[in-house]
Subunit: 193 residues, 2 copies
DNA sequence: AGTGTTTCTTGATTCAAATCAAGATTTATG
DNA sequence: CATAAATCTTGATTTGAATCAAGAAACACT
């Protein structure tokens, strides 16, 4: 199975003991999503938490004035879901969509609970990972407010160049928070240099 | 002591057992910061994690082009620090500053470790709280990218009206990501209605 | 290959925030 | 209380992204 992507992730962020892994992976189920399939939508209560093995997912929301805003692309080896909704049975206001044919493994709520209570290394992984995510997101917020679209684009090129090849430009635009037209001009400006 | 603010917070977000609290609070130390005092700076390794009892702290960073960007105001009952740096001994790129004379209680790394390993309810509180923060921050990122300054301002008025009375306007401006001049005009537009 | 659809580019115009520049008001301090 | 310092407001101008409107290019499908 391709599930050693998960083990790799667990060991990259925390020293997860390999011998515990079979017990953990048993709690997961597998599923595939087709390109453009919506996995959950605003208003849904999220019942599963996904780990991407192959493909790419997009987490986004629709702003009051109808703008489509991407907040996160989950590629191979990344988690995607919505923990608040998942854990507290509350409706989410985010959407999750597959941008390519995508294979995931996932935990339902019961098995998440089992994993978190019976596999301490999994709990600790999440605690650590959440701290990491929080710091990243705080930076993101700052940068989102602060940076010009040109700067955001150059940062994306630097930090996640593969995304630019993998995704259509208008998806990148929703992530950068600019119109596709503006992104087109930004690219021109920044490649001609 | 005013430390039942902490107990309140722990119980608001998680069912923290009151009888465990004395053991936890013993791990904290107290400190005061003067108005405008810098608590840590970009480049520092953060050695403590603060909980605000009285006053207000500002977490911010300086962007490459020199702009001062506030990402978070920690008021009474809120945590402030920088977990990544704190836990992994890495230099932070954020700054923390007291905007008023401020009293905090704080954990050093050793006592954080003790609390996290010997007081499960504290660990669980953080796990839950982090999930909450992550969702909030993801929303923030989306909104920061998406909203117009007017909308951001109105959201601030709605969600944290006390901040507007408590802080000078140019601090609010660094938080909204606009110039003080623009904020002045936004206020005019939005109060005349 | 050929047609239709999706995605990307380019130009012209509009609109909002940044910037530059004083001035007014509030707050702190001797 | 007076003066200085800090903060906020207002106006004029510049700058850059959104929008509107076609067209061009890439891609998908028969």
């Amino acid at each position: 199975m391709d599930s050693d992507l998960l083990l790799k992730e667990l060991q990259a962020k925390h020293d997860f003991p390999t011998e515990e892994f079979p017990r953990l992976i048993d709690l997961f189920e597998e599923r595939s999503f087709k390109k453009n399939e919506i996995i959950f939508q605003s208003g849904d209560v999220v019942k599963e938490t996904y780990f991407v093995l192959k493909g790419i997912l997009r987490q986004y929301y629709i702003s009051p004035d109808g703008a489509d805003r991407t907040i996160y692309f989950a590629e191979e080896g990344a988690w995607a879901g919505e923990l608040m909704s998942f854990l507290h049975y509350t409706p989410t206001n985010l959407n999750l969509q597959a941008l390519e044919d995508t294979n995931v493994i996932f935990l339902n709520r019961k098995n998440w609970e089992v994993a978190m209570t019976t596999i301490p290394a999994f709990t600790m992984y999440h605690l650590k990972n959440h701290q990491r995510i929080i710091v990243k997101l705080k930076e993101e917020v700052g940068k989102a407010v602060n940076e010009t679209p040109d700067e955001k684009y150059r940062r994306l090129v630097k930090e996640k160049p593969h995304l630019l090849q993998r995704l259509p430009q208008y998806q990148i635009a929703t992530y950068l928070g600019v119109t596709p037209e503006t992104l087109s001009r930004i690219r021109k400006r920044n490649t001609m240099l």
